[in-house]
């Protein structure tokens, strides 16, 4: 098993607060890997260090055999890691299609080719009929799907999803889960997701890492992790099991 993404001893501090404390884990190629944990556990900070939004203070992040820790976000994306934002940020005044074309142009010179690619992704994400709408007029579930489409358009090897299910109704969550699972199966894209919605994590992830106060408290297969006493105590609560 070769790890596509490998973190070793990654730490990030904000003044006195240690948001991420010597976190290490490997994400295998074509896996769906979930990071869970209570609010303030450092999930988004960890995510931001991987995506290049912040440089880690310590530790190494290796992607596809190359160190990427501290690289700017655009360079990280060009190497094949594409992210979504927890608070969605589509380009508001652009049409749905143009949003995705922007991503598709990363590895394409011509707008025509980028449009073809964008349209195939919009079909996959169920946004094709809305492609001429202005992004700011979309509903939240659609904006979340649009973010996934735009990230996918950059043809990543690793897709980083930051709470892409948050704020979705259960039926919408199931739809997103199905979409992501299909994507992973059909294209082999590796997915690293940060998620609060356990229903989605259980349905999707092949491996789960639990963070609490910036520290890894458990890692393993989802069924095993949710029975881990430390996880139950700190995060899930007894009734979740």
């Amino acid at each position: 098993m070769t790890a596509l993404l490998s973190l070793t001893g990654v730490s990030k501090r904000f003044r006195g607060l240690v948001a991420v404390d010597r976190v290490s884990f490997d994400v295998a190629e074509s896996a769906i890997f979930a990071v869970i944990g209570p609010n303030g556990a450092g999930k988004t900070t960890l995510f931001n260090t991987v995506a290049g939004a912040m440089a880690p203070d310590e530790g190494t992040i290796v992607f596809a055999g190359e160190p990427i820790g501290g690289l700017p976000a655009d360079a990280v994306c060009r190497r094949g890691l594409a992210r979504t934002f927890q608070l969605v940020r589509p380009f508001p005044a652009l049409s749905v299609e143009d949003n995705v074309i922007v991503g598709a142009l990363l590895h394409r010179r011509h707008v025509g080719a980028a449009r073809d690619h964008a349209q195939s992704l919009l079909r996959r994400l169920g946004l094709f009929d809305k492609r001429c709408q202005i992004a700011s007029t979309l509903t939240l579930p659609d904006r979340k799907r649009l973010e996934v489409a735009r990230a996918l358009a950059t043809q990543p090897r690793l897709l980083l999803l930051d709470e892409v299910m948050a704020g979705l109704r259960p039926t919408e969550t199931d739809r997103m889960v199905a979409t992501l699972r299909e994507l992973n199966r059909d294209t082999g894209v590796t997915i690293l997701l940060i998620e609060h919605v356990m229903r989605a994590v259980m349905a999707l992830a092949s491996r789960v890492l639990v963070l609490d106060h910036g520290v890894v408290i458990a890692e393993g297969a989802p069924q095993a992790v949710v029975r881990d006493p430390a996880v139950v105590q700190s995060y899930l609560g007894a009734e979740a099991v």
Binding site: R78, F91, V102, G103, A114, T154
Partner: protein, 342 residues
């Protein structure tokens, strides 16, 4: 072979443009081409001013409308290019078009310096705007003390009566200048369309909309912002050369002053920032109405200096309140024209 190439370019340019839009554009162009035979000499000079502002407005729009970088000091590129071309002409007899070839890289380099300082060190938004003002003001004061260009006393080009129009040396009657500026405006329009429909245009719009999200999509924001300021400065530089040879005089206060920068951006703001046709429409509306106002006041025997400025202010107020996106995004659908919403 040539014909096939030309057809290819035309096909590329008109790709996705409705027949109705093309008809409107053709009608407008025909009207503008015929204008000097229809209107009197005074109105030709008004039209030159309109086209000049349409041209500079388009150049500014590349930066603000497309890439979202607010420059309030675009006069610096006009002034630099004007002074360079005029000085080369006066001192060495170098023709303005060659002078333009010298002025363009200087203006572009000036843009690159301002852009580098700002974008490398994360100066954005209003702070970027202030930086652009600072550079223009620095140039205004600097040229006001620069002996070789006659400092604050101004630089004058020799004016002689010409028996015929000489477009190569930019010497001739207003009609010739009118056609030169019309050509420049059309070329700028085509350039803007090519840019916005291409990869670079998409990346600019992404940066304008959300720079962090653009970077997350792999866009090197620094690089594309640099392209925007350099291209915008280079396009603007021709306006400076034109200004120098049309007015035959350059004063630092006039060409580098902030009022010049402001006048340049009023057209796009009123017409529609980020649209292709907005800067052109805005120039026509503003200058056209202001001149009508002046003519009306003169006809009724009023002499109100400053009426034009007040009028600009009122126009800006009305547009900002009633049509915050500008006139063009409101007007275009009513003409049955759809420009990609920007």
């Amino acid at each position: 072979m040539m014909a096939a190439g030309t057809m290819g370019i035309v096909a590329h340019l008109t790709d996705g443009v409705s027949a109705r839009t093309l008809a409107w554009l053709a009608a407008l162009l025909a009207l503008l081409l015929a204008a000097p035979w229809i209107v009197n000499d005074y109105l030709v000079t008004v039209l030159i001013l309109i086209l000049y502002l349409a041209y500079t407005g388009q150049a500014w729009n590349i930066m603000m409308g497309f890439a979202g970088q607010l420059s309030l000091g675009h006069a610096i590129y006009v002034g630099l290019a004007g002074y360079i071309a005029a000085s080369l002409f006066i001192r060495f007899g170098i023709d303005p078009w060659l002078g333009f070839l010298a002025a363009l890289p200087v203006a572009a380099a000036c843009g690159a310096i301002i852009g580098f300082l700002a974008f490398r060190f994360g100066v954005t938004g209003v702070y970027f705007a202030i930086l652009t003002i600072a550079f223009a003001e620095f140039a205004r004061i600097g040229f006001g003390h620069l002996g070789i260009v006659n400092a604050a006393a101004g630089l004058f080009l020799p004016v002689a009566q010409y028996t015929h129009n000489d477009p190569w040396r930019l010497r001739g009657d207003p009609t010739m200048f009118y056609y030169v500026m019309l050509a420049a405006t059309v070329i700028a329009f085509i350039l803007c369309r090519l840019l916005i429909k291409s990869r670079i245009g998409y990346f600019w719009l992404a940066i304008r909309e959300d720079e962090e999200a653009a970077r997350a999509a792999g866009i090197d924001a620094f690089r594309y912002k640099m392209y925007a300021i350099v291209i915008s400065a280079a396009v603007t530089s021709f306006a400076g050369v034109f200004y120098a040879f049309f007015y035959n005089n350059l004063f630092p206060e006039q060409v580098f002053g902030i009022s010049g920068s402001i006048q340049m951006i009023l057209g796009p703001i009123i017409g529609g920032v980020g649209t292709l046709f907005g800067p052109i429409l805005g120039a026509f509306v503003l200058t056209g109405l202001a001149e009508s106002l002046n003519a009306a006041l003169a006809a009724f025997g009023f002499d109100l200096p400053g009426a034009e400025q007040v009028f600009y202010g009122v126009c800006l107020l009305i547009v900002v309140v009633a049509l915050p996106e500008g006139i063009w995004p409101w007007l275009a659908p009513r003409l049955g024209i759809s420009e990609r919403s920007q």
